[in-house]
């Protein structure tokens, strides 16, 4: 917002020197946890996220079982030290909502019918946050699910676009998110060109929305390639 005196775009570049369609640097590590069936460490700029997958395993409580398919559980949780001011630990309105939309973003690709009466647990822990943690969480969870050997039709990739100083830009960081006009995270199945999650906070015109969506979908393709490379390389070292 201009009245705060923060200028988010200078000479066609953003505060951290990125162009409008540039992602923050991404780092993916597969199989970082020994006890989990599948895991992934994901870095998106200053976001640091770890995802762990357990199961399919016996579902408890029993009455919540589905006789036809597995139940997917997703827990998004921010560490108290992940943000500048200490976050009160435990689930809150925000993390419950993010858990729900993230679960729904992943559900369409998982073949839950393979494991009736079981549950698949996905735990996403945010170790450090710098805006865009839900997208980083979905990316990490999707790789961790593949690593756990869960049958899936595709991977899911996710990224956010937003509007700052009147421009549509990709992958907002915390400063841009707090001082910008809009933020829109999406998740998609790259090969099928299908959107599985889309949220918007703020206002954008129809043209800006369409431009942003295109930007985000292209970025998802790049993220997908990185996820794929990380998984392939894990078993190609030897």
């Amino acid at each position: 917002m201009k009245e705060d005196g923060i200028e988010l775009i200078k000479d066609g570049k953003r505060l951290d020197g990125r162009g409008f369609d540039e992602l923050r640097p991404i780092k993916i590590e597969v199989g970082v946890l020994k006890r989990a069936d599948g895991s992934c460490y994901f870095e998106l700029g200053d976001n640091k996220v770890i995802a762990a997958v357990y199961g399919p395993r016996e579902m408890h409580p029993r009455h919540a079982q589905d006789a036809k398919m597995a139940v997917l559980k997703y827990r998004y949780n921010m560490a108290p030290f992940s943000v500048e001011e200490r976050k009160r630990p435990g689930p809150d309105r925000r993390s419950v909502e993010i858990s729900k939309i993230s679960r729904e973003a992943l559900e369409p690709v998982i073949l839950k019918e393979y494991y009736p009466k079981t549950e698949i647990d996905v735990y996403v822990e945010i170790l450090q946050s710098d805006a865009g943690t839900r997208t980083a969480g979905i990316n990490a969870a999707s790789v961790a699910l593949a690593d756990a050997g869960i049958p899936m039709r595709d991977l899911v990739s996710s990224v956010a676009v937003g509007k700052i100083d009147g421009e549509v830009v990709l992958d907002l960081n915390a400063v841009e998110d707090n001082n910008g006009e809009a933020d829109m995270p999406i998740a998609m199945i790259v090969r099928r060109n299908t959107i599985t999650a889309l949220q918007m906070d703020g206002r954008m015109t129809k043209e800006e929305f369409e431009k942003g969506l295109k930007l985000a979908m292209n970025a998802c393709r790049r993220i997908y390639e990185l996820q794929r490379t990380a998984l392939i390389e894990r078993y190609s070292e030897m």
């Binding site: 016996e58 494991y115 593949a146 050997g149 595709d154 199945i189 392939i232």
Partner: protein
């Protein structure tokens, strides 16, 4: 032979009629459903790196009794579902009745059993394999069940070599549990080699490397004795 690693959603082939386990067909094209390696010998299959064991009829598994609930023993077979063994599976001369089931098989006991039936509710029925008593001192090791074919090898070549060179009793069950019986030293070698095979199951030339490893190991031991 170079193994091709695939991730879920990877395109494998156009031959939809040959699509096998671990794949799905969409618009006449075959895609991977799991993270693993492609096997295109006859059917196009994806052999997953890991994954939970799903029992199928006829599998021989090593189970652990986790509960006694008359008239069943509830057995953990390393899958997402518990299996059950009916009281009548005990030998007829044992006179099993309510209250004394633990006298024949107690909680935490290990047993070898065959999966005889799985119903739509995923209730798994077992039959005791009497010829395989896991009595006495031995060692149980667990590997991902997806690596079991690699431990066995083509026409049993790998397991035969392990048995010859380690000189200890090795029983490999379908659910990835392996029972070893022999001297401490023999079991150490055997478990080390088996874990090595499980870790490198996706690489080629494994049989030769394992043979080499076993030879150098036995040389080391012989030298140790001479000294």
């Amino acid at each position: 032979m170079v193994y091709k690693v695939v991730i879920p959603g990877d395109f494998i082939s156009d031959a939809a009629d040959r699509a096998g386990e671990g794949t799905y067909v969409e618009d006449g094209k075959v895609y991977a459903i799991r993270y693993g390696v492609v096997d295109e010998k006859e059917e196009i299959k994806v052999v997953p790196f890991v994954g939970k064991y799903m029992p199928s009829k006829g599998d021989v598994v090593i189970g652990k009794i986790i509960e006694i609930s008359f008239p069943y023993w509830i057995v953990d077979i390393g899958s997402p579902y518990e299996a059950r063994l009916h009281m009548s599976e005990a030998p007829a001369d044992k006179k099993i009745e309510f209250g004394n089931m633990h006298a024949y098989l107690d909680i935490d006991d290990l047993m070898v059993a065959k999966v005889i039936n799985i119903d739509t509710l995923m209730r798994i029925d077992l039959r005791l394999m009497e010829d395989f008593q896991l009595g006495g001192a031995g060692r149980l090791i667990e590997i991902p069940h997806t690596k079991v074919p690699r431990i066995i090898g083509r026409k049993g070549s790998m397991i035969k070599m392990l048995k010859d060179k380690c000189k200890c009793f090795i029983f490999v069950a379908k659910n990835g549990r392996i029972w070893l019986k022999g001297s401490e030293e023999e079991m150490d070698i055997a478990s080390e080699v088996i874990l090595m095979i499980a870790n490198e199951a996706h690489t080629s030339g494994l049989t030769d490397r394992v043979a080499h490893f076993l030879d150098s190991y036995s040389n080391k031991i012989r030298k140790g004795i001479e000294r």
